[in-house]
């Protein structure tokens, strides 16, 4: 069965650089979520999209932005990277907004040096 695809799997950037993370949700899933998970931490909600519109916003820095495209894939753009941005970034998709399980991708491990 198709799963959530994230790319790249690993990314190394220097401070103040920019990074773009991509997410391809499961087909026919209309909701995409982005989570950030620091080492030994729980996933922290960043932002979500429903039918290509932003539906909710969490603890996402102003340096980050995201969008969902017409083909439902989503991109998380991160600028002016800081050392503290080093984390696992998960994308998850679900068939609807509430009362539905989230299917997580394998994640992108971002290391800022």
């Amino acid at each position: 069965a198709a799963g959530v695809i994230q790319s790249p799997r690993h990314l190394i950037k220097e401070k103040r650089e920019t990074a773009t993370l991509k997410c391809y949700p499961i087909p026919r899933h209309d909701t995409v979520y982005w989570y950030q998970q620091g080492p030994g931490q729980d996933p922290q909600f960043l932002i979500s999209f429903y039918e290509k519109m932003q539906s909710d916003k969490g603890s996402i820095p102003d340096r980050f932005s995201a969008q969902q495209f017409s083909d439902y894939h989503s991109e998380l753009n991160m600028s002016s990277l800081e050392l503290g941005d080093s984390a696992l970034y998960f994308c998850a998709s679900s068939p609807g907004q509430a009362y539905t399980e989230a299917f997580f991708g394998q994640g992108t491990r971002l290391t800022v040096v």
């Binding site: 729980d42 922290q44 429903y50 909710d56």
Partner: protein
């Protein structure tokens, strides 16, 4: 904002022993979900509880949702080495406009010694 607290943070058990992790939300939840994350892996959905007082079982795993829909527990009977991982509860808020957003507990890291 909504907070979800989970205890214990760590649990070391001998294979065959039981294991329980507890989750408590600061606000009433519409539903609570449980996820398992293996080391180096991604969260994998285990179950969703929606009704007040609901109890669900999956083989050796028993999940409970409190009457007030603010707390939950996961109990594993006779743990096996394959149960190793971090167990997260994650709540969806009742009402409001935060549809679908999951607020995760801190997770319980389970280690099973053979």
């Amino acid at each position: 904002g909504q907070q979800v607290m989970q205890i214990p943070q760590y649990q070391h058990v001998q294979e065959g022993e039981d294991f329980t992790t507890y989750c408590n939300s600061s606000t009433t939840l519409s539903n609570i979900q449980w996820y398992k994350q293996r080391p180096g892996g991604h969260p994998v959905f285990l179950i969703q509880l929606v009704k007040s007082g609901e109890v669900k079982k999956q083989k050796r795993l028993t999940f409970q949702f409190g009457e007030a829909k603010k707390n939950s527990s996961l109990h594993i009977t006779a743990t096996q080495t394959t149960d190793v991982g971090t167990y997260f509860c994650a709540g969806q808020a009742a009402g409001g406009t935060s549809y679908g957003k999951l607020t995760f507990g801190q997770g319980t890291i389970l280690t099973v010694h053979p």
